[in-house]
């Protein structure tokens, strides 16, 4: 089946070349970063995690969203999701690889990362995070490939794949719960020290992930003869809507607890993000923009007639994806470090090197998704002609 990714239209080839160019630039800059040290990024003693870890956190959620197509189809026989589960699983593969790459480029001593396996530390959430991410990657790769392969050969999938499919469902929830545990167990970071962090993560994951999947499926329909199915997309849109409502609701719950209790530790991070703290307010415009996007996105998604119009749906999915991205990719991690344990407010600005390396990791994810989707489309197009 791999040969299906090796040939394609002119546009396909140009897209691949663009991605490879960006990746090449990123690799070069990563070598520079490894030699010079992480000081070439915008991180510092007080903001020790920046864009790399925030993108990892956001993308783990997007990866987990594959469960939103797998669960209805394999557990509840929702036939409309049958044709598209493999697209969800392959999107998960691309996103999990991006997560692992973002972690890798953030390490001060990347050549030593195998120490996490050589010296397993069961009390460390990061050890478990590595485990569940690698497991999830393996699961989705195997399941997606086997299912696609069976479709290609026009046979039933082998029986032994079923337990893996069932395992991938709680596993998807676990990857994002464990990632939330990285943050929600730290006693000194009051923005993160909340039980609702894991539910918040999951809600925003199940909003952003299916939103991205919808956009990808609409692209698939445009560039190929495979039609994911209007009803499948509409159901995904409903999932996005409800998940986003929950996400915003959970955020408002946080706001209530912080400001009704008036406890400074709870309030400070939210103040920094939404009004500024000690005169520092770099993230304020981003957070309000995200709020407008979130509420606007939800409002318009509530109308079935708007959801049914796939042009508007694509825009709204982009809006919701962007809102989740700002909330998790910018607000969550950077807000957690403000104020510092000594109650200073230090701001963080990513450097060009950091942004370019991040972009190249996104390009790697896009490349993986492109190649895997090309194979999947190839298989499904053959079946249309049969």
């Amino acid at each position: 089946m791999i040969e299906k990714a090796l040939s394609g239209s002119r546009n396909y080839q140009i897209w691949i070349v663009i991605l490879l160019t960006i990746i090449g630039a990123g690799v070069g800059l990563f070598v520079y970063q490894t030699i010079e040290g992480l000081g070439v990024t915008g991180m510092g003693r007080d903001i020790t995690w920046g864009i790399y870890i925030s993108q990892f956190t956001f993308l783990v959620g997007v990866a987990a969203a594959a469960v939103m197509v797998v669960l209805p189809y394999y557990l509840h026989n929702y036939k409309q999701f049958g044709p598209i589960t493999v697209f969800g699983e392959f999107m998960a593969v691309g996103t999990v690889v991006m997560c692992q790459l973002f972690i890798f480029v953030d390490m001060g001593q990347p050549m030593r990362v195998l120490n996490v396996i050589l010296h397993p530390t069961f009390n460390s959430v990061m050890f478990w995070d590595m485990t569940v991410l690698c497991g999830y990657l393996g699961l989705n790769l195997v399941i997606g490939w086997i299912m696609l392969s069976s479709e290609h050969k026009d046979t039933e999938p082998p029986k032994w794949i079923k337990p893996f499919v069932y395992l991938s469902i709680p596993w998807a929830v676990s990857i994002h719960t464990v990632t939330a545990f990285l943050y929600s167990g730290l006693p000194g970071r009051h923005y993160w020290l909340t039980a609702i962090l894991a539910p918040r993560f999951l809600a925003s994951a199940f909003a952003a992930g299916p939103a991205l999947l919808i956009i990808l499926l609409l692209i698939v329909r445009k560039v190929s003869k495979f039609d994911p199915g209007k009803e499948a997309i509409q159901t995904l849109a409903k999932i996005v809507t409800y998940a986003m409502i929950l996400n915003v609701f959970f955020m408002l719950l946080e706001v209530f607890t912080a400001f009704y209790s008036n406890i400074p530790g709870h309030m400070h991070a939210l103040e920094y993000l939404f009004v500024g703290l000690h005169g520092k307010s770099a993230l304020v415009p981003f957070m309000w923009f995200a709020a407008i996007l979130a509420f606007g996105g939800i409002f318009f998604m509530l109308f079935p007639s708007i959801r049914a119009n796939e042009k508007y749906l694509a825009i709204l999915c982009g809006v919701i994806f962007m809102a989740c991205w700002i909330d998790k990719g910018l607000g969550l991690i950077l807000g957690g470090f403000v104020p510092t344990p000594l109650h200073d407010v230090v701001e963080y600005t990513p450097t060009f090197v950091e942004l370019m390396i991040s972009l190249s990791i996104y390009a790697i994810g896009a490349l993986i998704v492109t190649l895997l989707y090309k194979i999947a489309i190839g298989v499904k197009e053959e079946r249309i002609y049969d």
């Binding site: 390490m107 001060g108 030593r112 000594l342 109650h343």
Partner: protein
């Protein structure tokens, strides 16, 4: 099922619940009866007392900082972004963030207080380290194995006190005068005060304690009832940084 068997099962079930409930209730509801100590049982427990009344009489003194940083080849880097510090002075309001109010006594307000790694009895940094590069010795000292650190900086996120620094670039160009008796670090690893573990475990005192000519810093073993540090704790009221977080910091400040 015939009536006799059903009845037997009902009686057996009720009996099991009745007999099993007392031990279960005892197990769950037994809290509050014994003496509740938060400390782990150790044969040796190093700790530090800082008498800030002495320290505040010498507001321009940096002896402890200089001694520590020279002896451990800690580089001098300007700017909050990349600086590395094992022990330093910060304002009262920053060191004791939960002691804020509008009427702080003048002799403390805005004054410099020495701060460093607290070598907590329940250190969150040790809990989170994925490779045990940061670990706690039996004597309570939280120290690091620089060979194993992968530079993930999870410990820095976990530390509630901001005691840890990261080598964002090669530190050697920024070491003013190298001490040949102690290694440097390389870029990409975290570092912090190690309680002079290389000295303390062979019976010597930490550099900061020796450097303070006025005796403001006293270290010792809390398990020895007649140690100098136990005497200080018995005779003076002390506070610790962020005591409600469950970390059990072992640096005590006499205010």
């Amino acid at each position: 099922m015939d009536k006799g068997r059903r009845k037997f099962l009902k009686v057996a079930g009720a009996a099991a619940i009745l007999l099993g409930s007392k031990p279960a209730v005892n197990a769950i509801a037994s809290g509050g009866e014994e003496e509740h100590s938060t400390a782990k049982k150790r044969d040796v427990r190093y700790a530090m007392v800082i008498d800030t009344r002495i320290c505040l009489q010498h507001e321009d003194c940096h002896d402890c900082e200089n001694a520590c940083h020279f002896n451990h080849n800690v580089p001098k880097i300007d700017g909050k972004k990349e600086e590395i510090k094992w022990i330093w002075r910060d304002k009262y309001e920053n060191v004791f963030t939960d002691q804020q109010h509008d009427y702080t006594i003048e002799r403390l307000k805005g004054k410099p207080f020495v701060t460093l790694c607290n070598h907590c009895d329940d250190p969150p940094c040790v809990r989170v380290c994925p490779t045990q590069a940061t670990y706690q010795l039996d004597n309570g000292i939280v120290t690091m194995d620089m060979h194993r650190c992968i530079g993930c900086r999870f410990c820095m996120a976990a530390c509630p006190y901001g005691s840890r620094s990261f080598n964002w670039s090669d530190p050697r160009p920024n070491i003013e005068k190298q001490n040949p008796d102690y290694p440097t670090r390389t870029r990409g690893v975290v570092e912090k005060c190690n309680f002079c573990v290389e000295r303390v475990t062979i019976g010597k005192k930490p550099h900061c304690e020796l450097a303070c000519k006025h005796g403001a810093i006293v270290t010792g073993d809390l398990t020895k009832k007649d140690s100098a540090i136990r005497k200080l704790l018995a005779e003076n009221q002390v506070i610790r940084r962020k005591p409600t977080l469950g970390t059990n910091p072992e640096v005590y400040y006499i205010i």
